[in-house]
């Protein structure tokens, strides 16, 4: 075991594999920064390059690229409020709010440090889980996956403002999200639901145009209305200074970082939940760390914990997602499905063999994630001064550039003008939600979890009738969901007691 662990490291450090990894990192860096151009698409485009490579070189290239995308996606999200990737939207809420306060440096420092720690946690979890990976993944059947989606939906309680009014708004927004998740051809009867007689909506609402509209457009309107730079009137010197403050923040909130890293790993490990879910559950968990009502109100206004949470989950989920891909040949997400294609191309058959005969290769994957993240984080730190300076650029110079990025980003998801229309519609919705004080996070959570919850509920009932309700893991998850829902009330009670 230890032998394979070290062998895996040596495999990655061979000069050829290392050079290919650097090439992968370089590509991934830009893909992550540019909104819309997704990690999965890029992997598909890069697949033909691996035909003549050795397995370790090929995976250093592909995985090096893939594990960087999420990290640099955070940068776009924080600086401009434009989700660089569908998986980096949650970090906008607090990260961009910090940038607007002139703390872009601190936010980026925290995001990079937490995503680095998250990657290490994910890789460690992957390494440690190898002996128990098969029983672990097999425990999670459709009923358990449904309950996990319910736990995710329960986080709506944490993502809404406190008080009766805030809760009602949160649940209504979540309900709208669930409703939007229903759009498209349903998988049980094949009926087209709410497609407005268009072919575009047949396969459901695409997440990228929705997220880009919902988050980026309100920020752009805000920037135009204010007529200043993103960081407003914050003094120029201060903006880049906070980087190490941000790194320190991660260590100050060490256990939060670790917990969110583990949430990410776990969601990644469960095939079918998808990366877009992990960040929101981590964000929801981060808001639970608020001790007082005032602290809770600070989330969304630029609390650094709102950056650390999704930051840590965003990269750790990649380590987790590799587990079912390697052990079962069942990809944990779209990117992993393409990596799986790469496995076949290289003559490796995912399955039990990868955990025994090809164990060094499997460990080389773990090491690639770790090393690629170290390199990226260091590279990003070198560039941070230049990057944060962008928040000092006058709005009227920045807005046209950001607008172009936003529309290209949404258009690339289906190459259809309808993508842009969807972004505009959700942009208007997002703007009014912000102005009226409605939370957007529950809407997104409902949208990403709606289809998963529906399908697994259907399968659970069709397969087990009602017997699935008695399965032990289902019961445990149900208790967790109730706990998550009641947590804001406990929080409120605790803060009252502390004050009274």
């Amino acid at each position: 075991m230890l032998d394979a662990f070290i062998q895996g490291l040596l495999l990655v450090l061979q000069w050829k594999a290392f050079v290919f990894m650097l090439a992968g990192i370089f590509v991934g860096f830009w893909v992550g920064l540019l909104p819309g151009l997704g990690g999965a698409t890029t992997l598909a485009l890069m697949l033909p390059f691996i035909y003549n490579m050795q397995p370790v070189e090929a995976f250093a290239f592909l995985l090096g690229m893939h594990s960087v995308v999420a990290t640099t996606g955070d940068i776009t999200s924080i600086l401009f409020g434009v989700p660089g990737e569908a998986t980096t939207a949650a970090i906008i809420l607090d990260g961009h709010a910090m940038a607007k306060r002139g703390e872009a440096g601190r936010a980026l420092g925290a995001a990079l440090a937490s995503s680095f720690v998250g990657a290490l946690i994910g890789a460690a979890a992957l390494a440690l889980a190898i002996p128990i990976v098969r029983p672990l993944v097999l425990t999670f059947g459709s009923p358990e996956l449904f309950m996990l989606a319910i736990v995710g939906l329960a986080f709506i309680a944490s993502l809404s403002a406190q008080g009766a009014r805030g809760m009602v708004r949160g649940f209504l927004a979540g309900g709208l999200g669930l409703f939007l998740a229903m759009v498209g051809q349903d998988p049980q009867a094949g009926v087209a639901r709410y497609t407005l007689d268009t072919l575009y909506l047949w396969q459901g609402l695409d997440l990228v145009p929705v997220l880009v509209g919902l988050f980026a457009i309100p920020e752009i309107i805000d920037l135009v209305v204010r007529g200043t730079s993103i960081a407003g009137n914050a003094p120029a010197g201060r903006i880049s200074k906070g980087v190490f403050e941000g790194v320190k923040d991660v260590f100050r909130n060490w256990w939060l970082t670790v917990r969110c890293g583990l949430i990410g790993t776990f969601i990644g490990l469960t095939p079918g939940l998808g990366g877009a879910v992990a960040q929101w559950m981590a964000y929801g968990h981060a808001t639970q760390s608020a001790r007082t009502a005032e602290e809770r109100k600070g989330f969304g206004q630029g609390d650094v914990r709102g950056v650390i949470g999704p930051g840590a989950a965003c990269n750790s989920k990649e380590g987790g997602a590799l587990i079912p891909t390697i052990a079962f040949g069942v990809p944990g997400g779209a990117s992993m499905a393409i990596l799986l294609g790469g496995f076949f191309l290289l003559g490796l058959v995912p399955g039990p063999d990868m955990l025994t005969k090809h164990l060094p290769v499997t460990f080389s994957l773990v090491w690639t994630i770790v090393i690629a993240n170290i390199i990226t984080v260091v590279a990003c730190f070198l560039l941070l001064n230049r990057l944060t300076a962008l928040t000092n650029v006058q709005g009227h110079l920045l807005v046209p550039v950001v607008l172009v990025l936003v529309f290209i980003g949404s258009y690339t998801s289906n190459s259809s003008y309808a993508d842009i229309l969807v972004s505009l519609i959700f942009g208007a919705l997002g703007y009014f939600m912000v102005v009226a004080g409605w939370p957007r996070a529950p809407l997104v959570l409902g949208l990403v979890l709606g289809k998963i919850a529906e399908n697994y509920l259907y399968i659970s009932v069709a397969r087990y009738d009602f017997a699935w309700l008695g399965r032990p893991v289902v019961v445990v998850l149900l208790i967790i969901a109730v706990g998550v829902i009641l947590f804001p009330a406990v929080q409120a009670w605790r803060s009252r007691r502390a004050h009274g």
Binding site: A40, T41, L43, A44, L45, L47, P48, Y51, V137, L138, T139, G141, S142, Q185, D186, P187, Q188, A189, G190, D197, T198, L199, Y200, W202, Q203, P271, G272, P324, F328, G329, V330, P331, A334, A337, I338, L340, G341, F344, L345, L346, G347, V349, G351, N414, S415, S416, E454, N455, Y456, Y458, I459, A462, R463
Partner: protein
Amino acid sequence: MKWKSALAAALLPLAAAAQPTHVPSFSGKTITILVGYKPGGGYDATARMLARHLPDHLPGKPTVIVQNMPGGNSIIGANHMYNVAKPDGLTIGTFNRNLPIAQLTKVQGVKFDMLKFAWIGSAANEATILAIRADLPYKNWDELRKAKENVVIGSTGPGANTHDFPLLLKDLLGVKLKIVSGYSSSADIMLAVERKEVDGRAGSYTSLKPFIDRNLVRPIIRARSNESVIEKLPVDESFAPNPRAKAIMALRSAPEVIARPYVLPPNTPADIVKVYRDAFAATIKDPALIAESQKAQFDLEYTSGDEAVKVLKEVLSQPKDIVDEFSKYVKFGE
């Protein structure tokens, strides 16, 4: 009039010599393969593999690129090929093999006539089989047919072969199957098989082969196909209780012969179509491509454009009562 025939005789070799210059050359041009799906799936992967090797077999060695136009289970891409793309040989399209079914059952949004495309042919054919867990007491088709208890089959949803093939076995042949749909992918169903949530799944033989080799599942029955490896498996149609049931099963499996369809826009000149047909036939025989496709575990096989049109004519000329009956079971999807 003698001089005229003499002139004709003199010009004849010239005309013959001029013939080769009629072969269109794509030198310096860029050819686009329009894929009706997002990057990442089987249709996309096949197109990208062909794009690497087609240039070697097309006159003038053009550049071949892949463009994705997803949506509406690739109806959007097919509509574009039919109504917008120019018939100049610079755009070729590939889309969902079940689009003839969409046309037949008059799915909303279809703005094409499959028969009017200039067919290059198909790059692969697919054989759908049903496989069930090897630890079940049913070892073959005869035993499965006599099963008293429901055998649970996981599916991705209507319109996919994971769903429609077992549905017809259940409804037309009376096999005791319980179909549970809603899994996000066929790999996802495989995991459900592994944790014994479902007892088996239907799907292409190539996608099930690794699991058959691992002895997780056992192949039981297949649809009509050209795949030689699984010739010995019984064919669903041969157990049909009446001609109508047989016609419905045949109709469902017909598009599988043209599993990776490739077309040119309608009214493409015949010489361009011929160039493409020849290029596809040669590319798919190219040892370099074969080596790659075997590595990627796809089985590529060229079915000619004429053969494809024959299959389409068969599908699209079904009498109304069969079509009505068919639409009760099978919906267009995926």
